[in-house]
């Protein structure tokens, strides 16, 4: 009798285990995103979120991470600080996400940072410009995968112009009137002067600019033979197109945000447009990017945005490294030493260290359009920049 009870108890225990295991396995990793899905900045950020979502859908369809699916919570902040603050509070305090992702404009950063700091939740900037807090000495909670960084980009760009130009570079700069873009352009001008480039003029354009022609006329009349723009996309390409309309014949360099530069190159079909990038563009026709495009499309994304993909890979790798169960503290520890490789997209891995949550090495490539071959070609191959050294050098130059 006792033996029968033991067998029954054992069977009951096994049955309970069998019943409860799927329930446990389905407990998700909760990740929250506050993003500019609508509003003026959505031009750049909406596609990133779409790709991020598609990548996570792919991960879930393949069984999730460590046997657990990823549950994403999306909130639209329209690029507005107040909305971003509300979103962060909701996702962190109410939804109890283990990681918060910010894919929005820099104006939203402060309130989001305040919330994650209070709740000790890791925050990933995935697709928006990397803030000061991720550079050495990094805030332990904040990380960034975004390819562009105002000062280091600008430094690389002006050095490229000097290297690529046979004549003396007479540089004009164009920037939207937002703090991060001004920081980038200040760096470009300071580095430019240091290496012997003549700075002939700068135009700072207010956010409500309707017509770029008056601004571009000023640069043309100043005698610029190179113009550098570092801003949100509309304020990079707008002055360039206005310069073309004015019959300007110089060279133009901008940070090549992947989605829009991919569309702009064939549309404009001009060889004097140089794009500095930290991630490959589709117009180059790399097979890795084509494969990503297919995966993104299969999982519901209407287009591939490389920044969104890289951020999603980082979240994937971070959660994998965190294991299960994954607490906020454990995840933060796992992220601090993480190395993220996205083959074909970047020149090298994004390697985070204890005090550098931007990356220890930044890689750049420069493209231009080849109108005869109707495709983007490399103007400068992937080049490594040691981030710590470059920041030290820039501090010296800019002070």
């Amino acid at each position: 009798m006792a033996g029968t009870f033991r067998v029954l108890a054992w069977l009951a225990f096994m049955a309970l285990l069998v019943i409860s295991t799927p329930a446990l396995a389905q407990e998700p990793y909760k990740v929250g995103i506050t993003a500019a899905i609508t509003g003026p900045a959505a031009v750049e950020y909406a596609a990133r979120v779409e790709t991020f979502r598609a990548y996570m859908s792919k991960v879930n369809s393949e069984g999730g991470i460590n046997g657990h699916p990823i549950q994403l919570g999306y909130e639209d902040d329209r690029g507005e600080p107040a909305r971003a603050a509300t979103n962060a509070k909701k996702l962190v305090e109410q939804d109890k996400v283990v990681l918060l992702v910010n894919t929005s404009v820099s104006a939203t950063y402060k309130p989001v940072m305040a919330t994650v700091t209070e709740a000790k939740t890791p925050l990933l900037f995935g697709g928006g410009v990397c803030p000061q807090e991720v550079f050495p000495p990094a805030n332990p909670l904040m990380f960034c995968t975004t390819s562009f960084a105002a000062q280091i980009d600008s430094d690389f760009a002006v050095r490229f112009m000097k290297e690529a130009s046979k004549d003396k570079v007479r540089l004009g700069t164009a920037t939207m009137d937002i703090p991060i873009a001004r920081i980038g352009i200040d760096a470009a001008e300071a580095v430019g002067r240091k290496i012997g480039i003549e700075i002939v003029g700068r135009v700072t354009m207010p956010p409500g600019t309707a017509d770029f022609t008056p601004f571009s006329s000023k640069l043309k009349d100043a005698g610029a033979n190179w113009v550098f723009a570092w801003s949100p996309w509309s304020f990079e390409i707008g002055p360039y197109e206005a310069l073309l309309n004015l019959g300007w014949q110089g060279n133009y360099m901008l940070y090549g945000h992947q989605q829009p530069i991919d569309a702009a190159y064939p549309r404009l079909n001009r060889e004097n447009l140089y794009a500095l990038v930290g991630a490959s563009i589709l117009a180059e026709g790399l097979p890795e990017l084509k494969a990503m495009q297919e995966i993104a499309a299969k999982h519901g994304a209407s287009r591939l945005d490389v920044e969104g993909w890289v951020a999603a890979v980082a979240v994937h790798e971070a959660l994998k490294a965190c294991g299960w169960p994954c607490s906020r503290e454990k995840l933060q520890g796992a992220m601090s030493g993480l190395s993220i490789t996205v083959k074909g997209v970047k020149g090298g891995p994004i390697q985070w260290s204890r005090d550098n949550h931007f990356r220890t090495e930044q890689w750049y490539k420069v493209y231009r359009w080849d109108s005869a071959r109707q495709r983007a070609v490399t103007a400068k191959e992937w080049t490594k920049v040691d981030v710590a050294e470059k920041l030290k050098e820039l501090r010296e130059i800019i002070k």
Binding site: G39, V43, P206, T209, A210, S217, S234, N245, R267
Partner: protein, 290 residues
């Protein structure tokens, strides 16, 4: 010389937009704060039609203008007409809500991507050198031509045509006009249609020159001071006000600070409100009604 060319190009877009505010205000006394968004809608209609008729982009222009005209008539019939008898500010609030709704709908339909209708049409915006080293593009020249044409056509319409005279009568005293047999609602809906038709012209030109995205409606807001500086009930005031504000903007960009370009239209408006609140050519009594 380029300064003058830039001024003419910018002024022409401001004029085309400001005309819409004035025509609607003159007829129905409503400040249409969705004017920028209705312009944006016309831009998207143009893009949709250009994309749908590859190889025949010129069909898309009149078709988009018809859509634009009908949108104005539709807005009057469905949103503004039911507000008759309510305080005027209720109708103004309705237009604010309409603007928000239109932006949302456009985002749903087309996303926030930047679109380039001219590239889809296969046409190019060619730069043309002018005397004095200035350059204007084909679209700039068309904008200037259209601004002049629209102003002359509207002047002729209001001064000479029976319907135009009826519209002026309805604007001055709707009750009396109605008693004299003027179909007030036809007149009002026509004024809304004309307003959005002209906004459609501006949208096609602007989207062809610069870009099309859900934020271009903001340009409507920049043209609002032009309408007020010229005189909200005065078509004659639109041209000098548009030229003056565009010139001030260009001068500020070139000689003072590019950052001032955003505030110049509103500074001009502020000065005008202090000096002559009814605008350059507006009616003094009208400002009291506002």
């Amino acid at each position: 010389m380029q300064l003058l060319a830039n001024t003419l190009a910018l002024a022409s877009i401001y004029i085309l937009l400001a005309v819409g505010y004035v025509v609607v205000y003159r007829a129905s006394r409503v400040l249409n704060l969705a004017h920028g968004e209705l312009m944006m809608l016309a831009g998207y209609a143009f893009f949709g039609l250009v994309s749908a008729t590859p190889g025949h982009p010129l069909w898309a222009v009149p078709a988009a203008l018809v859509v634009s005209f009908l949108a104005g008539v539709g807005v009057y019939a469905t949103l503004v007409r039911p507000m008759a008898g309510h305080p005027l500010f209720s109708a103004v609030l309705v237009t604010v809500s309409l603007g928000i709704l239109l932006r949302g709908l456009v985002l749903l339909g087309w996303t926030a991507d930047i679109l380039y209708p001219l590239a889809v049409s296969g046409y190019k915006n060619v730069p043309w050198p002018l005397p004095g080293g200035a350059v204007l593009t084909t679209i700039d020249l068309l904008s200037i031509l259209m601004a002049v044409t629209v102003l002359l056509a509207l002047w002729g319409f209001f001064a000479r045509s029976r319907l135009g005279i009826q519209m002026r009568a309805a604007a001055e005293n709707p009750l009396l006009a109605a008693q004299r047999g003027v179909n007030i609602h036809l007149v009002f809906s026509l004024s809304w249609g004309i307003s959005t038709f002209v906004a459609g012209v501006a949208a096609i030109l602007y989207a062809s020159k610069v870009r099309l995205d859900p934020e271009i409606g903001v340009i409507g807001l920049r043209a609002f001071p032009v309408a007020l500086v010229g005189g909200l009930d005065s078509l004659a005031g639109v041209a000098p006000a548009g030229l003056a504000i565009a010139l001030l903007e260009n001068l500020a960009i070139r000689y003072v600070s590019p950052l001032l370009s955003d505030v110049v239209p509103f500074l001009a408006l502020l000065v005008m409100l202090f000096v002559r609140p009814w605008g350059l050519f507006g009616t003094k009594e009208e400002i009291e009604r506002v």
